[in-house]
């Protein structure tokens, strides 16, 4: 788990620093409290948030290909305890984002993202669901404004990006 290689340019690190709350990375003094706080690290010694941050600090973009980053719960137990308030799960999220093109994304996550773009929801709403709501006396919620979603995301070009992504995880979703 020692850093295996690092890219010579600082592209990855600089990109992270430019993102909202990305500069909290620079406050990390590598104390390791996050790792000892983390419930995932407690059951998997190769999951080490401190080392993940070290990789970003060293601009080692191999982190974006690590499937391990997707086993972060985003529970923020590390962040609550971090003496420097580093936004640790958020920084791992940024690493995940960089891994998208390489397919480092669980299939279920990809499915959800596509569902949101296509229908405005992460789940398919079927007739029986609507009937149940009706029977319970719950109001009709209408259809999400899918056109608005497409419109505000146009500049980001997410739909295009997602078209070619193939999950390296394979398999279907767990839901």
């Amino acid at each position: 788990m020692v850093v295996r290689r690092s890219t010579s340019d600082l592209a990855f690190r600089n990109w992270v620093l430019e993102q909202p709350e990305g500069e909290t990375l620079l406050r990390c003094y590598q104390c390791g409290r996050c790792t000892s706080a983390c419930p995932v690290a407690a059951i998997d010694n190769s999951f080490n948030p401190r080392l993940f941050l070290q990789k970003i600090l060293l601009a080692d973009e191999s982190l974006a290909e690590e499937q391990l980053v997707w086993t972060c719960l985003t529970c923020e137990q590390c962040e609550v305890r971090c003496p420097e308030h580093v936004k640790i799960p958020h920084l791992l999220i940024l690493a995940k984002v960089r891994g998208l093109v390489g397919g480092n994304i669980p299939q279920a996550a990809l499915d959800r993202a596509r569902a949101i773009l296509a229908g405005g929801r992460i789940i398919m709403v079927n007739e029986s669901m609507l009937k149940t709501r009706d029977k319970m006396g719950l109001p009709d919620l209408g259809q999400p404004p899918v056109d608005q979603i497409a419109s505000v995301l146009k500049e980001i070009g997410l739909a295009k990006k997602l078209e070619n992504v193939e999950s390296v995880y394979g398999g279907g979703s767990n839901e």
Partner: protein, 421 residues
């Protein structure tokens, strides 16, 4: 005309600045809120860099030419003509009129008269009340008439009226009529040309520090509490024992337990690395296994030999800030990543010691608020010619630095007041 200075706080820095100024002919009122002088030093036992008793420091002449500290036990603090010591005294107001300070101070009664008592201590023997001793860690007790520590100056006992039953036994036994159970508090006004804050620091009690479970176990203690355990004059006679009375075989120390933490104390407390090493070495001398969890070790140059010694003596160093201490089967277990081996460790030990932050005492006093800066510490020169500070009142530091600062401020005050720049 002789100038008058008020020194607030009779810790080592306050004592030192007072000694220097009175030697130079300045009149000093030394005001201390506790019943004895010495401040933090009364808790410490032996201190770095020389390993001497914090209270009797004449012995360190070779290192510091003999003048920078004095033994308060044998000091002249209570007998110098131009020095007035007020213990158990609080400052109620400070006003500045025509370039002079006027302080209203209130001295709480000791109930034992300083000018009569001959320190035979018969009164303590006859007192029937027994209550927990503030200086004890493992359940030691004291009487209602007592001396906080035996070397405390003034040496005369005092009565803790919250617990005294007014039985009168001490009054009866006293051969010199020194006890006055009806003594009243005294309020006085004193005038001064300048003020010196030597209000020092206290070690934070980490009751609310997340993760380290201080309030859950008596085997999770602070470095100050460990100092009491190691001190041969403490209630365990210097034996390092757990809350259940067994001799400790394994101790884990957590440095920066609250310091350098945006959620707790932002700054570095400066002295704790070194006194943790000091304590670790003392524990090794008792063949106790010691692990120090640290982020980096910040040891002053003059004390670097404590680090070398610790390595020689086999203190284990683990680089990593523990997330938490959990109590399992009655034993504190420290959960930490060893950042050098990248292993997550669970270290079970008999006692966990927290290097809790040193935080300024001055910020607990409303009348001093105007003189304080960031975090509640004061600048050395708060206001030219009028208000100064020295010792840990200016920021956490060790004794040599506090004393050096006291000397510097004494000269500065003298020069400013006497115009002899």
């Amino acid at each position: 005309m002789t100038k008058t200075v008020v020194v607030i706080g009779a810790g080592l820095a306050g004592i030192q600045v007072t000694q220097q100024l009175t030697d130079l002919g300045v009149t000093v009122h030394l005001i201390e809120k506790e019943s004895i002088i010495g401040g933090l030093a009364t808790h410490l036992g032996r201190v770095f860099p020389t390993g001497d008793c914090a209270l009797c420091l004449d012995a360190c002449e070779e290192l510091f030419d003999g003048h920078h500290r004095r033994c308060q036990y044998r000091s002249l603090l209570t007998s110098k003509k131009n020095l007035k010591l007020y213990t158990q005294t609080e400052i109620r107001s400070i006003t500045e009129v025509d370039g002079k300070f006027s302080l209203s101070i209130k001295s709480h009664p000791r109930y034992v008269l300083l000018d009569r008592c001959v320190v035979c201590l018969e009164c303590i023997n006859v007192c029937d009340v027994e209550i927990p001793d503030e200086y004890a860690i493992r359940g030691g007790t004291r009487k209602a008439i007592y001396r906080p520590i035996s070397q405390g100056v003034p040496l005369v006992p005092l009565i803790d009226m919250d617990h005294c039953t007014q039985c009168g036994k001490c009054v009866e036994v006293c051969g010199v009529d020194a006890i006055d159970l009806a003594e009243k508090a005294k309020t006085r006004t004193i005038k001064a040309d300048a003020l010196i804050l030597a209000t020092g620091v206290e070690e934070k009690i980490p009751l609310n520090l997340p993760g380290y479970a201080y309030s859950e176990s008596d085997d999770i203690i602070t470095q100050r509490e460990l100092a009491r355990l190691i001190d041969p004059t403490g209630d365990t006679d210097g034996q390092v024992i757990t809350s259940s009375g067994d001799a400790a075989a394994k101790v884990t120390m957590i440095l920066c337990a609250g310091s350098r933490d945006l959620e707790a104390t932002e700054y570095c407390s400066q002295a704790c690395c070194t006194y943790s090493l000091k304590h670790a070495n003392m524990l090794r001398d008792k063949e106790i296994d010691v692990t120090i969890c640290y982020m980096d070790l910040r040891v002053q140059k003059a004390s670097n030999h404590y680090l070398d010694l610790a390595r020689e003596k086999g203190v284990k160093f683990l680089r990593g800030k523990p997330d938490r201490v959990v109590v399992r089967n009655g034993k504190p277990t420290t959960i930490v990543e060893d950042t050098q081996t990248q292993q997550r460790m669970e270290i079970e030990s008999d006692i966990v010691v927290l290097a809790s932050p040193l935080s300024p005492l001055a910020s607990q006093s409303e009348v001093l608020a105007d003189f304080l800066g960031e975090y509640g510490f004061a600048l050395r020169v708060v206001k030219e010619g009028r208000v100064y500070a020295c010792g840990t009142a200016t920021g956490p530091e060790d004794i040599p630095t506090s004393i050096a600062e006291a000397n510097a401020i004494a000269l500065r005050v003298y020069a400013d007041l006497e115009g002899g720049r």
